[in-house]
Amino acid sequence: MSTKTQIPLVDYLRLGDRPHLVATECTSCGARFFDRRNACASCFGTEFTEAEIATDGILKSFTIVTFAAPGVPVPFVAGVVDCDGTSVRANVINTEPDDQHVKLGMKVRLATTSLGTDDDGVEAVGFGFEPAEGANA
């Protein structure tokens, strides 16, 4: 029996009491990435540090996908969130997926979502951004 009860959807999602995203940040130019790196695409440096990403952000673009690849449930809202200067790709969750509820420039915050449990009882946890209180009257 595994002692681990949760696993994040991706390495750059950190779970626990205060779920947040982390970026791989180039120590020489500050460029931020979310994937495993060979080098920095901006300055070619090879030293990186981990940077915590703000959990509050602004939705700077979105689409509402109603026609997707097989196995991808629709509709869903895909967007880009400006988290204090770092852009993050994510779904917009916990809202109706239509252009009356999802607006450019709306304030959003990170939220986690369960993706189900495997045969060992480990729960995979994903993330999205949900409308922040007081936003989008």
Binding site: I7, P8, L9, V10, D11, Y12, A31, R32, F33, F34, D35, R36, A41, S42, K60, S61, F62, T63, I64, V65, T66, F67, A68, A69, P70, G71, V72, P73, V74, F76, A78, G79, V80, G85, T86, S87, V88, R89, A90, N91, D99, L104, G105, L115, D118, D119, D120, V122, A124, G126, F127
Partner: protein, 403 residues
């Protein structure tokens, strides 16, 4: 400065469904017609550059149908910029002095293909069910649909929506983008080679099947079959050809290919803007023309949301002024800078590798005064632009021959 290069012959097939033609048939149709258009044969060619993305075919297979002369073949792939890359490869060979004539071919069989982009969201299939991180993100399952979208319609939808956000647009995005599509579908009614030639009202465009808001089906480029080919020639060689060949030759005033320079967020949402801006700037400088000199533009409207941002990227308007530019009517065929008078990818169709030569064909057709009902009168300078996601951008500026 290396030698000038001219388009001597060029052709595109009818775009659409060609169930009875295979990739070699389509490629041969375009290539042989381009050779005939230029008044030359395979025996005159010093290089072949061949583009095909999805079919995984090779130029050598086409040679085996239309002429095996032993010349080098460069098989190129560059996403939706594959055709432009093939053309540019042939141009570079001439500029390098390796030959004085070359053939570029782009061909695709796509009719009936569905969404293009990443695969489904299934994740690894194994005995039993265990979450196990894999890949560069350490993902335990597929991320398409869980962390945004990896499909083209939604990706380019976000490209257009981001532009509206950055420029404080206060109108209704859906209707704005739908009206761009109405323009291109209206333009297509004059293009017999377009896959779809039916005018659509705003209500029809907005009421059609939603694919990825704000792009409905007619606002997306049409998957279809098609091919296009071009014969390019050096200025010196052109002088030895007939007066008629010289008269119809179109000057390649600029041939530019870029990839995307690193920008914040470019690995989060593909940045199709910066590399287009860089390519456009280089092209205007190389050609010695300004955006105001352009009589027509064929730009990469793979989705209605993409056309808007490229008005700005290609400097057809003031920075941030793409919406005003469109609202002024400038991009309609009777406007100051007609854009996509062919009907664009939304109606002409987008057989990926053919697209980057087909839009050159459209511009050449007008510069030669051979565009029939859709002729832009007196056209002297035109620009053709393509984007391949990932990314690659091709920009060519073409000028009517002085001869």
């Amino acid at each position: 400065m290396s030698e000038d290069v001219f388009i001597l012959g060029i052709n595109m097939t009818k775009f659409g469904k060609h169930p009875d033609l295979d990739i070699q048939d389509l490629g041969a149709q375009a290539a042989m017609a381009a050779l005939a258009d230029g008044g030359v044969t395979m025996g005159d060619m010093g290089i072949m550059a061949y583009g095909n993305l999805i079919g995984q075919s090779f130029g050598q297979q086409l040679q085996k149908q239309i002429g095996q002369t032993g010349i080098p073949v460069y098989n190129v792939q560059n996403a939706c910029a594959t055709g432009a890359t093939a053309l540019r490869t042939a141009i570079m060979a001439i500029k390098a002095g390796e030959c004085d004539m070359g053939l570029a071919v782009g061909v695709e069989k796509l009719a009936g293909a569905g969404l293009l982009g990443a695969g489904g969201g299934g994740g690894k299939k194994k005995d039993g069910h265990h979450w196990e991180p894999s890949g560069r993100f350490g993902a335990v399952t597929g991320t398409d649909g869980r962390i945004g979208t990896q499909q083209m319609p939604g990706t380019f939808a976000q490209v257009g929506m981001e532009y509206l956000y950055e420029n404080d647009y206060e109108g209704t995005p859906f209707e704005l983008f739908a009206r761009i599509s109405v323009k291109n579908h209206q333009h297509s009614t004059l293009n017999p080679l377009a896959a779809y030639t039916k005018a659509m009202t705003l209500e029809e465009v907005m009421g059609d099947m939603m694919i990825a808001y704000p792009n409905t089906r007619p606002m997306c480029s049409a998957n279809c079959d098609g091919a296009a080919a071009a014969v390019v020639v050096s200025a010196a060689k052109l002088k030895t050809l007939s007066k008629e060949q010289q008269r119809r030759a179109v000057k390649v005033s600029a041939s530019i290919l870029t990839s995307d320079p690193w920008q914040e967020a470019c690995q989060v949402l593909p940045d199709v803007n910066t590399l287009t801006r860089v390519a456009a700037r280089q092209a205007y400088e190389q050609a010695g023309v300004s955006p105001q000199d352009l009589d027509l533009v064929e730009l990469h409207d793979c989705f209605a949301t993409a056309e808007l941002v490229h008005y700005d990227n290609l400097e057809l308007c003031e920075p941030g002024g793409a919406v005003d530019f469109f609202e002024s009517g400038a991009s309609w065929r009777d406007g100051s800078t007609p854009v996509n008078v062919s009907g664009g990818l939304e109606s002409k169709g987008h057989p990926i590798s053919a697209t980057g030569i087909a839009n050159i064909w459209e511009v050449c057709h007008h510069l030669r005064g051979e565009a029939g009902d859709r002729q832009i009168e007196g056209a002297k300078v035109g620009l053709a632009h393509v984007i391949g996601l990932g990314s690659a951008c091709g920009v060519h500026i073409l000028e009517k021959s002085a001869a």
